[in-house]
């Protein structure tokens, strides 16, 4: 796959195990370049694991993970760190450096990877903070920010090196409606304005479907379905329909496997 390939990220026949438990078995995922792709699925289905496989924080037990043509499992540790400069990741918690203020958090990638003069670093940081609406918070420390603000600062930090690929891990969890609206708009806006590839890993159906060009639904170690949001809404697959419509009963059980309820209650401890 070359840099001109229509896919920025490709997972081919990827399997991943935790101990003896299969998380993914022979999964194929193709993330189109320049689009917003949503990876969705119920909690605990391995969405964050998938993100960590794409970011090469975890290595597959089998298969290829290609990012911009590079097969990540075959790269050395140094090459992996170089590759990650093309990638921005927005973690669920924001993961801001707690000993640095907002300005220094956003300036951090510039300071470690570039030799830019201080004036230019200042201008770039302020521009990125302006893009996420937090230029006024430049002197605050992370513990003075709300959860939504932390994520926006983390977003400014993730885009400060103008990455080609931006990955969002559950960006909508725990957001109030205003922050949620801001984030949804920002993800779409940044994708279109910067021409990057966005991957949104989330279980928030409405928000993800509203901005994604293409969706993957994962669960039960497999890709259950893929397509545009409209195609998935109309899917005949009962598992996808259950997830897209949010019904508690269906092929995906609400209850974790357990013994008979009545027997369990009568048995005592």
């Amino acid at each position: 796959m070359s840099a001109e390939s229509p896919y920025a990220v490709e997972l081919k026949g990827v399997s991943f195990k935790r101990g003896e438990r299969d998380i993914f078995k022979n999964v194929d995922i193709h993330i189109p370049r320049g689009k917003v792709t949503g990876i969705m699925g119920p909690s605990g289905c391995g969405k964050t694991t998938l993100l960590r496989l794409i970011a090469a924080e975890l290595m597959p037990s089998q298969g290829e993970v290609r990012v911009n043509g590079l097969n990540l499992p075959s790269l050395s540790r140094g090459e992996l760190f170089d590759m990650r400069k093309q990638m921005g990741v927005l973690f669920q918690s924001g993961a801001l450096f707690t000993d640095l203020d907002v300005f220094e958090n956003v300036a951090f990638p510039l300071r470690v990877h570039t030799q830019l003069p201080e004036e230019m670093i200042r201008d770039i940081v302020l521009m990125k903070l302006q893009a996420v609406g937090l230029r006024g918070a430049v002197e605050l420390m992370p513990d003075e920010l709300s959860g939504g603000m932390k994520r926006r600062v983390a977003l400014a930090r993730a885009i400060v090196l103008d990455p080609q690929i931006l990955i969002y891990d559950e960006p909508f969890v725990g957001q109030d409606p205003i922050a949620m609206g801001v984030l949804v708009r920002l993800i779409r806006l940044l994708n279109d304005a910067l021409g990057i590839t966005s991957i949104v890993v989330s279980h928030d159906l409405a928000e993800t479907a509203s901005i994604a060009d293409y969706l993957y639904v994962v669960g039960d170690t497999q890709v259950l379905g893929q397509g545009t949001p409209a195609e998935l809404m109309d899917s005949d697959n009962p598992r996808i329909r259950q997830f897209m419509q949010g019904t508690p009963d269906g092929p995906v059980p609400f209850h974790f496997p357990a013994d008979n309820y009545r027997d369990d209650l009568l048995r005592g401890r």
Binding site: F81, K85, A95, V112
Partner: protein
């Protein structure tokens, strides 16, 4: 309670052995990568200075206070024992040799494990649980070089210096008690010390001990933080492990080093 079969016990024992070997292997790879891996940033010296302050300078108070008190106690105890044999003038020699050979390196290492070691483990563990280490890696910065390596070097450098400071203030505390309080003649206190303390045998061996302890304690502390389960309970367990493992390692190694240095084999 469920009975465990012999076979199951053997299996559990084997599992524990494999886990232990796995942890040892991980910790060696971790150390080699942190010390000799490729650096992705150019500000290593700045990071080292910051950690020297946090690990070394911030430990000074506890080291100095403990050193003074231990020196004073040694002097008191030594005087009362030596006075029975009419050798109270040798109290300076006893205080100096005890501090330089044993208590300086050992107590400094134990205090260092409790103050700086536990702080290092908790700090790195907290960074892991709040995804700051992952975040660094995603920015293209190796956390082993950026976070771990400066802390390791800071520990290696600062602990031998702290051990020397401990011995010096301990001797000063001992002299205060012996000369100013118990009335030992100042001339014989210092002259006995000078005559009996050998630079190579006592001072240098003490420094070598503290270098070994610095290496082991700091390695245990940073590895426990980096390898911990990223939860509150995991961090708490890792911090406890740091203090327990580091203390046991220091005491065990002290015996081995003492046997090698002074055992006359």
């Amino acid at each position: 309670m469920r009975k465990t079969s012999v076979l199951e016990r053997v299996r559990l024992f084997g599992r524990a052995g494999i886990d232990l070997l796995g942890t040892l292997g991980r910790s060696v790879i971790f150390l080699l990568r942190a010390l000799f891996g490729r650096s992705s940033t150019g500000n290593g010296f700045q990071l080292l200075v910051k950690q020297l302050y946090s690990v070394g300078v911030m430990s000074l108070a506890i080291i100095v206070v403990s050193g003074v008190f231990i020196g004073m106690v040694l002097s008191l105890q030594g005087f009362s024992i030596l006075a029975q044999y009419g050798s109270e003038q040798a109290v300076g020699q006893m205080v100096a040799l005890t501090l330089l050979r044993e208590l300086g390196p050992v107590v400094t290492a134990l205090l260092f494990a409790g103050r700086a070691g536990s702080a290092l483990t908790a700090e790195i563990g907290n960074m892991k649980s709040t995804e700051q280490l992952s975040s660094l890696a995603m920015i293209g910065v190796d956390p082993l070089k950026y976070i771990v390596a400066p802390r390791l070097w800071a520990g290696f450098i600062s602990m031998p210096l702290l051990a020397m400071i401990f011995s010096v203030v301990g001797i000063w505390g001992g002299s205060m008690v012996a000369i100013d309080w118990l009335g030992v003649y100042e001339g014989s206190f210092w002259a006995n010390m000078q005559n009996s303390v050998s630079f190579r045998e006592d001072v240098l061996n003490g420094v070598i001990k503290s270098i070994v302890f610095a290496f082991v304690v700091t390695w245990i502390a940073v590895f426990q933080g980096y390898d911990c389960e990223p939860t509150s309970e995991g961090i708490s367990r890792a911090t406890t492990k740091t203090v327990v493992y580091a203390s046991l390692a220091v005491l065990g190694l002290d015996f081995i080093l003492t046997a090698l240095m002074f055992g006359d084999f």
